[in-house]
């Protein structure tokens, strides 16, 4: 079987996952998307039903919304760290741009259009349009900030980039804090915070956004634009010599990353209802970065998983509130010692691939006798995931 199969192949088997018949049956493209869409829809409906039915209480559903927001933040930061290979430390800055942009837009526009706070809860069409508009505006605000910081910052590398983005996020925070007092605006509410934001975030909205964001990042990375970004990470000099406009693609990755962070910021505003600049400090950026590094740089599933765990863990450990930060730190140390590449490395999950394996009866336990090939396959999977 597999054993003989690999015998006649070159040292590195390019087709290690081929089935016994030699022809590996694949799912047609529309089917792949349909399957994933159905799964996402089922999960969304299931979650919504559980919330409506009372299986998930109010507190738990708020935590779930937080989880979704952090997933968006982590996968968006993953574009800049995992795919582009840079180390920006200012993600909270983009998040706050999005949060303020979105909430100010929604507050002002709902006055103009006469949409009341109740409409956001019941979800009238007008309110829905306003919310989606607000999220896009939030994303655009963050994207503009991303361009402003990205063009100078991306000329630098490594530590220097980290510090300049860190400083920029602090600038944003201080501006949010003082802009009203200094310039006499009535925008952000300063240190007292921005209040009166309608609570528009809901389980469906947040996880709908998670699905859309993950889809868009996935499709971007598996196109010529994504390949150019990955090429810059792997070897910038070679990428340039191969005709990749490195400045453009670095900025693109950075701006897309900022845009989605802004969307997450908007959702965050709708979830908590009050915005204070202090929330978007340096620690928030670090928190998001930790999620990405812990999950595995370059792995979307890894980012999502670790965002989930690291959001739920502190909540679950509330009973031991004195010790929970210790537990958090210990988890980080252990992971970094035993799996420095992150929990999932660069592995990414693909439902269609699993289904294809089942279709071809290509199961892991069938290759138990063939250790080297199994290892090869592992590498191939990670290579595959990069696509």
């Amino acid at each position: 079987m597999r054993h003989e199969k690999t015998e006649d192949k070159p040292v590195i088997s390019a087709s290690a996952s081929k089935g016994d018949t030699g022809v590996y049956r694949r799912l047609p493209m529309p089917a792949r998307y349909a399957i994933n869409a159905v799964v996402v829809l089922v999960l969304l409906v299931l979650g919504e039903l559980m919330i409506d039915g009372g299986a998930i209480n109010r507190y738990q559903s708020t935590v779930l919304e937080q989880v979704g927001i952090y997933i968006i933040l982590a996968v968006s930061l993953n574009i800049a760290t995992g795919y582009l290979g840079q180390l920006p430390l200012g993600h909270a800055g983009f998040m706050s741009m999005g949060a303020y942009g979105c909430s100010i837009f929604i507050i002002r526009m709902s006055e103009v259009l006469g949409v009341g706070a109740r409409d956001f809860v019941t979800g009238t069409p007008m309110a829905l349009v306003l919310v989606i508009g607000g999220l896009v505006v939030g994303g655009l605000c963050a994207a503009v900030a991303g361009i402003v910081i990205g063009i100078p910052a991306l000329r630098l590398k490594g530590d220097y980039l980290a510090i300049i983005t860190l400083a920029f996020a602090e600038i944003i925070r201080v501006v949010m804090l003082n802009i009203d007092d200094v310039l006499g605006f009535e925008l952000t509410g300063g240190a007292a915070g921005l209040t009166g934001i309608p609570g528009f975030s809901s389980f469906l909205l947040v996880f709908g956004c998670v699905a859309v964001v993950c889809f868009l990042i996935h499709t971007m990375m598996k196109s010529r634009h994504g390949r150019a970004i990955l090429a810059i990470r792997d070897n910038e000099i070679a990428a340039e010599a191969t005709g990749v406009n490195t400045t453009y693609y670095k900025t693109l990755a950075f701006v897309v990353s900022a845009f989605f962070a802004g969307v997450a910021g908007g959702l965050y505003a709708g979830c908590v209802g009050v915005l204070q600049p202090a929330v978007f400090g340096f620690m928030k950026s670090i928190e998001i970065l930790v999620m990405v590094v812990l999950g595995g740089m370059g792995s979307m599933l890894g980012s999502a998983l670790s965002a989930t765990v690291l959001t739920i863990l502190p909540e679950a450990l509330r009973a031991f509130s004195e010790y929970r930060m210790i537990a958090y730190a210990v988890v980080l140390i252990i992971v970094m010692i035993f799996r420095p590449q992150g929990l999932l490395g660069s592995y990414d999950f693909s439902l269609s691939r699993v289904i294809e394996r089942v279709m071809n009866r290509d199961f892991p336990w069938k290759r138990r006798d063939d250790k080297p090939a199994a290892e090869k396959d592992g590498e191939e999977v990670s290579a595959h995931a990069e696509r």
Binding site: P10, V11, I12, A14, S15, M29, Y33, L216, T219, M220, S223, R224, H225, R227, A228, L230, A231, R233, D234, N235, I237, A238, A239, E240, A241, T242, G243, V244, N245, T246, T247, L252, S346, E379, E380, S382, A383, H384, E386, R387
Partner: protein, 284 residues
Amino acid sequence: MPSDKRKRRSVLVQMETPNLIPERDLGTIPVLQAEHLGIDFGGLTAVDDFNIAMGKTEISGLIGPNGAGKTTIFNLLTNVYKPTRGTVLIDGYDTAGKSVAEVNRMGIARTFQNIRLFSQMTVEQNVLVGFGNTMSTHLITDMLRLPGHWRQEAEFHERALELLDIFDMRKYADTQAGNLPYGAQRRLEILRALATGPKVLLLDEPAAGMNPAETEELMENIQKIRDEFQIAILLIEHDMSLVMGVCEVVGVLDYGKIIAKGTPEQIQNDPRVIEAYLGKQEVK
């Protein structure tokens, strides 16, 4: 794109040394031309007064002792280093002020002495990065998976596999580039450069680390590329069997200066070349 104003219509003619340019290329615009090219690093003149004019389908070699400035010349031709003096014209267009990526799009592609692949990407993806500038889908088309995206991906998937066929590498298409055997990595680097659609291909020590059989194969491949793609190839090499076997013109570089230029036979018997490599005979 360079404007027509910048186009220089200098045409290849037989110059001071006869038989340097292959006859088939005479009367055309030189595909690569450098005039009085030079660069100083601080007080050190790394390259001084380098001149070259290459015909459309010429294979040339650049040899010289270690530290003579060969790779520096490649870096000057591709604008990695900005030349202190002199000009580089690619197919008649001046490269001054262009970025490395723009120079690549003007028609010059290169490989590296120490292999620089996108090692975490698959072989096919490596080639597809090279095709990147030929592909034209907008970011939105790609992100929303509109029909244009599928059409283009399918087209370039085929083209990438066809390109891999040249070196019989289709079987590696899904392999991670970093896991390839050494020889295949060198070949992939050449293919990736070819995918950018160059007019001139610069090969920096393509035979480094290869055994004689592999070098033999490489020689055939270099000629095959020239014949199939009708491009000019300039290569740096220490392996004399390769240089003498495949190059039509050889330039010898020492201390940043061209000390001799000619056909392989002329070079082999040139006393200046022997001196540069072996040193002067002491007179007792």
